[in-house]
């Protein structure tokens, strides 16, 4: 089917850009992604999954020239840190990449290697998500297009490759800095059977960025992932998180965003092994006094195995005319019995001009499942506000406390208490301005 002209023109322009250099497997992966992108076309506002968030923020000319320094939220966790400045690895600012239980490499470093585990993962989860329509019995299965992820697979030149083979005791931090560029980074994480690793991301990758992470968690593996974005005002930030999880594995990913003109965090999680747990949670604090704060979480969790649990917990604090978007889906395949799925998305609207657009979707083909979902929008609880003020707490401070109270359910999803406290402390800082 031919693409609409506007989409075709945009796609042609993107595909006309020079292909990054690389070895045979990487070139093949990029070529595959280019072909997928050619078929899908670049996203436009008319696409269903981009109805609430304008893709031109990333497909159009860069609108901002914000720079950012190092973010230091997780310093106290003493992580092994890799620094990327506008997408380029900064070896001098980074730690030595040696750590027990894990190998850490760079995409640019293995691009010319013939045999590497990265070959089996790079672009693979994205390709699977961007697969063709297929028929499953009477059902026609139409995957949601992820063109920005395909674009990333095609164009990214750098990224971290993390291969966990044991229990990695020290968190690995990907720390972003920017002088105002527009990088695309593509990270890969492979957690072997029984291995566990915690990955932290903080800082601004670029004024206009498209960052992707593909994670393959094997049986009994554990991946904890935290991503904190902010507090720069003028930036367009896009992330794509793809994960595939095995039997009795645990995946917990948490994101928090402060400010930014526009942020979209897409997550596509496929639970393929029985008795597995996959949690995704996040929150945001929108306070762009210059007139726009737009925050989009687009999540798609597929239950493809028996007796698995998934949770989606999202809390958005919106003020000064901010827009929050949540598109969350749980797909339960016919054989995925005993699925326990939970999804909640809530917004705290601090003024009349802010809005929350929520699209919860449940598609269930198994008959023995428990799936619940809810979505609410509300203002500050006046009773609680009065209670706090009657104890001498100022209105502003009381509102801040109640904002933290609102965010608490999402923050509780962070497994590690010390890391949760670091995130909470940062949010308190941001609230106080």
């Amino acid at each position: 089917m031919a693409l609409p002209k506007i989409k075709q023109d945009l796609t042609d322009a993107v595909l006309a850009q020079p292909v990054p250099e690389g070895g045979s497997w990487l070139t093949a992966a990029r070529d595959g992604a280019r072909a997928r992108l050619g078929g899908l076309g670049m996203p436009i506002r008319r696409d269903e999954y981009w109805k609430f968030t304008n893709p031109e923020s990333w497909t159009g000319a860069q609108a901002f020239l914000t720079a950012s320094d190092a973010s230091t939220i997780f310093d106290d966790a003493e992580p092994l840190t890799l620094v990327f400045t506008d997408g380029a690895f900064d070896a001098a600012a980074s730690d030595d990449l040696a750590l027990e239980g894990v190998s850490i490499e760079l995409l640019s470093g293995v691009a010319h290697t013939d045999l590497h585990w990265a070959k089996g993962l790079y672009g693979k989860l994205e390709a699977a998500a961007n697969g063709a329509e297929r028929r499953d019995g009477a059902r026609l299965f139409k995957p949601v297009a992820r063109p920005m992820a395909a674009l990333n697979t095609a164009m990214a030149e750098e990224g971290v490759l993390i291969h966990a083979t044991g229990e990695v005791t020290r968190p690995i931090r990907i720390s972003y800095r920017s002088a105002g560029g527009s990088p695309q980074l593509h990270h890969l994480v492979k957690v072997e059977e029984g291995a566990s690793v915690t990955i932290l991301e903080e800082g601004m990758p670029g004024a206009q960025s498209n960052v992707m992470m593909e994670a393959d968690v094997a049986d009994n593996g554990t991946l904890h992932h935290l991503r904190i974005q902010g507090p720069e005002q003028d930036r367009a930030t896009l992330t794509n998180f793809f994960a595939r999880t095995g039997t009795e594995s645990t995946l917990k990913t948490f994101g928090f965003t402060a400010n930014g003109s526009i942020t979209r965090n897409e997550a596509v999680i496929e639970i393929t092994g029985d008795n597995a747990t996959a949690h995704i949670a996040g929150g945001c604090l929108g306070d762009n006094e210059r007139g726009s704060f737009h925050h989009d979480d687009t999540v798609y969790i597929t239950h493809d195995a028996v007796n698995c649990e998934s949770r989606q917990v999202f809390k958005k604090v919106l003020r000064n005319g901010a827009t929050g978007v949540f598109q969350g889906k749980i797909l339960v395949q016919p054989h995925a019995q005993k699925t326990d799925g939970y999804q909640i998305s809530q917004s705290l609207l601090l003024d009349d001009d802010s809005q929350f657009l929520a699209k919860p979707e449940l598609e269930i083909y198994a008959d023995d499942v428990a799936c619940s979902h809810g979505s609410t929008s509300g203002a500050i609880d006046e009773q609680a506000l009065f209670y706090l003020r009657s104890r001498g707490v100022s209105r502003k401070e009381a509102e801040d406390l109640l904002t933290l109270s609102f965010l608490a359910e999402a923050l509780e999803e962070i497994e590690d208490e010390a890391l949760a406290e670091m995130v909470q402390a940062k949010i308190e800082d941001w609230l106080r301005g």
């Binding site: 009065f386 009657s390 104890r391 100022s394 209105r395 406390l401 109270s405 509780e412």
Partner: protein
């Protein structure tokens, strides 16, 4: 201490008159009790004094040590020394009880131009006071009032009162929903704070609480006014005969 003159109050949304000329003078260091039938305006009086939204004062005044209470924001009233123990304490998920207490204590100290308490100093004081109200470390850590029993919520109110050291304490039906043991514990807490200077206004339906917190003056409120006052014996009379006689006399 607290002086209320001809106070008229309406509900903002319904233009319903609730208080119709309340006159009340509370002496420093004394315990005053207000009793009265349902709907007499007792709780409204406590809310208006502490500054809750939704009420319109159409006439009259209320002053705390000569300062106009009605002009102040709720937090300013608290800093001036007013405290309301809520009939229904509010649950605040995700905010630790200790964080809440420390924020409140330091906010008031700041408003009064005093130095804020450090985490260590605060912890020492709060532990000591909590112990005397049988509030354990777990209750201090848990989110404010979340999952607390009725008795725990009321004890938590008294702990806040003890930490904030107000001049003027209003207890709005603090005995409601409490068993005898819990009520005694709350009364003990209040009695421990009686120091001859601090003033109390105890709002209650039952004489029972006043067995444990001995009032100096008992006021009877009905239909938005104070209709009579007397000594502790007045509470006993209400307990034995109900309000009917008193209402007729008024």
């Amino acid at each position: 201490m607290l002086e209320i003159k001809n106070l008229h109050v309406e509900l903002e949304e319904e233009e319903k008159k609730i208080l119709k000329g309340v006159d009340l003078v509370l002496e420093p260091g004394k315990v005053h009790a207000i009793m009265g039938p349902n709907g007499s305006g007792k709780s409204t009086l406590s809310y208006v004094l502490s500054g809750r939204d939704g009420y319109e004062v159409t006439d009259g005044s209320a002053t705390l040590e000569g300062e106009d209470l009605l002009e102040m924001e709720p937090e300013e009233r608290a800093a001036a020394g007013l405290f309301l123990a809520f009939q229904y304490p509010v649950e605040i998920p995700g905010v630790g009880n200790m964080t809440f207490l420390r924020t409140a204590v330091n906010a008031q100290r700041k408003a009064r131009g005093e130095e804020e308490l450090s985490a260590g100093e605060f912890l020492k004081v709060v532990r000591e006071k909590a112990k005397s109200f049988k509030i354990d470390a777990d209750m201090l850590k848990r989110p404010v009032n979340v999952g607390f029993s009725g008795g725990e919520k009321k004890r938590n109110e008294i702990l806040q009162m003890a930490m904030l050291e107000p001049k003027m304490c209003i207890l709005d039906e603090t005995d409601s929903g409490l068993d005898v043991d819990a009520m005694k514990l709350v009364a003990q807490g209040v009695n421990a704070l009686r120091d001859g200077k601090r003033t109390f206004l105890v709002i209650t339906h039952y004489q029972r609480l006043l067995d444990h917190i001995k009032p100096d003056v008992v006021h009877i409120m009905a239909n938005g006014r104070m209709i009579t006052q007397g000594g502790p014996e007045l509470a006993l009379e209400v307990e034995n005969n109900g309000y009917a006689n008193l209402l007729e006399d008024a």
